[in-house]
Amino acid sequence: MFPTRMVRALRCLVLALGLLLPTAALADLEGDLDGLREKSYNAKGEAVERIVAGGDERAVPILEAFLEGNLFIADQDDRIVIGEDSDGGYRIIDALTGEALGEVGKRDVSKIKINNKLRQLVKGSLGALTLGSKDPAARIRAADAVFRSTQVEMIPALEAAIAKETDATVKARLRRALAATQLAESEDTETRVAALQVLGEFTDPEVRTLAAGVLVTDGDGNPTEADAAVRAAAEAALKSIEEGLAVASLIANIFQGISLGSVLLLAAIGLAITFGVMGVINMAHGEMVMLGAYTTFVVQELFRASFPGAFDYSLLVAVPIAFVVTGVIGIGIERGIIRWLYGRPLETLLATWGLSLILQQAVRTIFGPTNREVGNPSWMSGAWEVTGGLVLTYNRIWIILFALLVFAALMALIRRSSYGLQMRAVTQNRPMASSMGIRTGWVDAMTFGLGSGIAGMAGVALSQIDNVSPNLGQGYIIDSFMVVVFGGVGNLWGTLVGAFSLGLVNKFLEPYAGAVLAKIFILVAIILFIQKRPRGLFALRGRALES
């Protein structure tokens, strides 16, 4: 799928640059279509064959319209148009461009006539046209359409398509469609058993429905399928499909868990470093996430207004901007409020809580209390369909990658830079670090800014999967605390392990206990957990009596 997407993106790019390739295709199709104007049915047949040979997907609706007798030549400008019945006339659109041309009377257009022989030809070639499309995604769509409609006349086209298909994904879909069609339409036991064996290879709820359909019994408990060999094959297929589906749902659960974990990691990691270095809990951390999400909204609005063509890059621009905006706000908070509460962590907690109320209300006043629309760039929308039962959405995949990237960058910063060294020194022993000449106040301000900036970047990521509202941060703050408490402070690995284990446990409990009970269970488990390890999984070891 990835190469497919890249091809598509490339095409868009080519289109944007105004190169000639698609235009040339357009001209081809136009020329071939003109053949349909011929009076002779033989000439029309040749034109259909040329259109099919061109492999242009846009010919599909035109041929469909032709089949149903809805293809016309407009008298006014001699264009080939597709007409739809409206009262007393036709609503017509240009066959090539899809441009709506308004309504015309019955007499203003002349129908392109079709006979039975031609109808047969068009029917057969329609499938071949879509199945033989140059775009693999279009071929998959065509195969899936056949899979669902199971028309017996498609079997030859499918077999031909399978023979020349080179892309493995498309080939699998074609085989699935062929097997489903054979199972539904064939009379021959051997063919149907073979078809069920093919279907058994797929892990897909739709295929399961097909196989289960063979085993349906009527009201008296007698099987509706008379053929015992087919029933046995269906049972075998069903078993294999269900095993496959169980694995798929396990993988889906793991993916969901890792995805939730990476969101928690992004939200909690800033909290963990400020708590580690300064010993203060920033209750306004969730609001930094929220501000990051609103920064994304503003950046996207600017893109929509000024550079609509580059909308796909808006998120890449939003990440550094959100980092800087929330980072600067964070430094401001540290210099303006937290500095004055030095050594009073509980009061800091209260003051930052007050700040979070103010920030929430300020955003509510400026942007309104309702959700704001933040768009997905095209490279983040859609999903990677591994098999029918396992669909991984691109935005989740990107967020996992982004979280890991942020984690790695932060790790490098702390391990390799001189600022990181100073930060670690302050975390371990503040008075000693201070007496060695480290400006602890500066380290505090930078750390707070860094933590807030990461929260802002988390906000950019969250804007892609959650509602951007003034309450966005509130939803994550308690979970982030739990990550910090569970993972311990002073070691980023603790945050990583904490976030992912919380995410995974949450997602694995959900199917059994429901989302709410799962959450309650986790909260209780963490309260019990800190009995054993009051300072978290990865506690900083030291000789201090009370750290």
């Binding site: 708590f275 800091t348 209260l350 003051a351 007050g354 979070s356 605390f481 309260i527 009596l545």
Partner: protein, 383 residues
């Protein structure tokens, strides 16, 4: 923070005397002006004001319970709203059972929401709540037991400071989620409401409202005296020692966790009583009382009034809640700005709160009262 000069005397600080005098005066005057003065008169206190003041006094009691642990033992609980709500639910369950067959569905046993959910039987934990003494016992026992279990786990493993605050917040958040569930059997999202009467007295009646007000004021006075008594006792001395230097106290041989557990449980019970008095006066209890934001708000009442004075908590609760009533009515958008600003201003500029700052001022005045035994204030050691 000033210790009483004579620890055997419950009323030694001036503020304590003033607080008690005002509370008793209000307890007599407000019902009198409500019931005896005709509605047309300028001195008449309308019933809604009586209920509003009653609500403030419940909050004052809740603030008192927080001050007892935060001001005198250094335990910052961000989940005290949970104990308040549990006491409220216990009282609400009694009031629900008193509705009897007067509910919308007319079921003599099951409350309306259970009929609505197609429940056939009363869940076991609702048994006994038709008896008032049992409900009162539960008002004390449920929050007390939760505090005992929670505190035992937390204090035994020496969870202190911000960690404890976060964990208490997780506790109330978990309860919030649990009580939102319909199958918990506590009315889910809507909570318990539509109460009719208490001990046979109609809750809408002016007389009942005035009586509830008096009961709240009297309970507040009693709770205040109880807290003063605890603080003045030897246990109170140890608690203050724990607040100021926990490790040192432990090394001196005191079992710090038991003292903490004791005061935490007492505080939770006080909060439960406050909740039980609150519910009949506002007429509803729902899961939003468990929200972490509510619990943090309680702390700011104490901080505004002055932490570690007891009467400061009462003053702070009443002042902040009056401001809330006024601002949410006059300019709803301003309220959160105000509340947020209050959090910051009090912690940064007025760390001792109103009462503490007044005390300090009084100590500086020439010829003013100077406290003899002033404990050296060492804010939150161990951090």
């Amino acid at each position: 923070m000033i210790l009483s000069n004579d620890r055997n005397h419950l009323l030694s600080p001036l503020g304590a005397k003033i607080t008690l005098a005002v509370l008793l005066l209000v307890a007599v005057l407000v019902p009198l002006l409500n019931l005896s003065v005709p509605p047309g008169s300028a001195f008449h206190v309308p019933t809604y004001v009586v209920s509003l003041l009653g609500k403030y006094l419940c909050f004052a009691m809740l603030a008192l319970s927080v001050d007892l642990i935060w001001g005198f033992c250094g335990i910052l609980s961000l989940g005290h709203g949970a104990f308040f709500a549990l006491g409220g639910y216990a009282m609400g369950m009694y009031l629900m059972r008193q509705i009897g067959d007067r509910g919308v569905y007319g079921n003599p046993i099951l409350p309306d929401f259970m009929v609505f959910l197609n429940w056939k039987e009363l869940p076991w934990y609702w048994y006994g709540f038709d008896a008032f003494p049992f409900a009162l016992l539960m008002v004390l026992l449920v929050p007390g037991l939760l505090a005992l279990v929670f505190g035992w786990f937390a204090f035994r493993s020496r969870v202190t400071g911000v960690y404890l605050s976060i964990i208490t917040q997780a506790m109330t958040f978990a309860l919030l989620l649990a009580f939102f569930r319909n199958d918990m059997g506590f009315g889910g999202n809507n909570g318990l409401t539509d109460f009719k009467d208490l001990l046979g007295f109609d809750l809408q009646d002016d007389g009942t409202r005035a009586a509830l007000f008096v009961a709240t004021a009297v309970m507040l006075v009693l709770a205040y005296l109880l807290c003063r008594w605890i603080i003045g006792s030897k246990v109170g001395r140890v608690l203050i020692a724990i607040r100021d230097a926990e490790s040192r106290t432990r090394f001196l041989g005191y079992r710090v966790e038991y003292y903490k557990l004791f005061v935490f449980t007492v505080s939770a019970m006080l909060a439960g009583i406050a909740g039980a008095l609150y519910v009949p006066q506002v007429g509803i209890i729902n899961p939003s009382e468990f929200s972490p934001a509510n619990s943090i708000e309680i702390v700011i009442w104490v901080a505004v009034g002055g932490r570690g004075y007891l009467h400061g908590a009462i003053l702070g609760a009443i002042l902040v809640n009056y401001a809330k009533t006024y601002l949410t009515g006059a300019a709803p958008d301003i309220w959160l700005f105000f509340l947020g600003g209050l959090f910051i201003a009090v912690t940064v500029l007025l760390p001792k709160g109103i009462v503490g700052s007044l005390d300090q001022l009084r100590g500086r005045l020439p010829g003013g009262f100077k406290p003899k035994a002033q404990a050296k204030v060492q804010e939150m050691p161990g951090e």
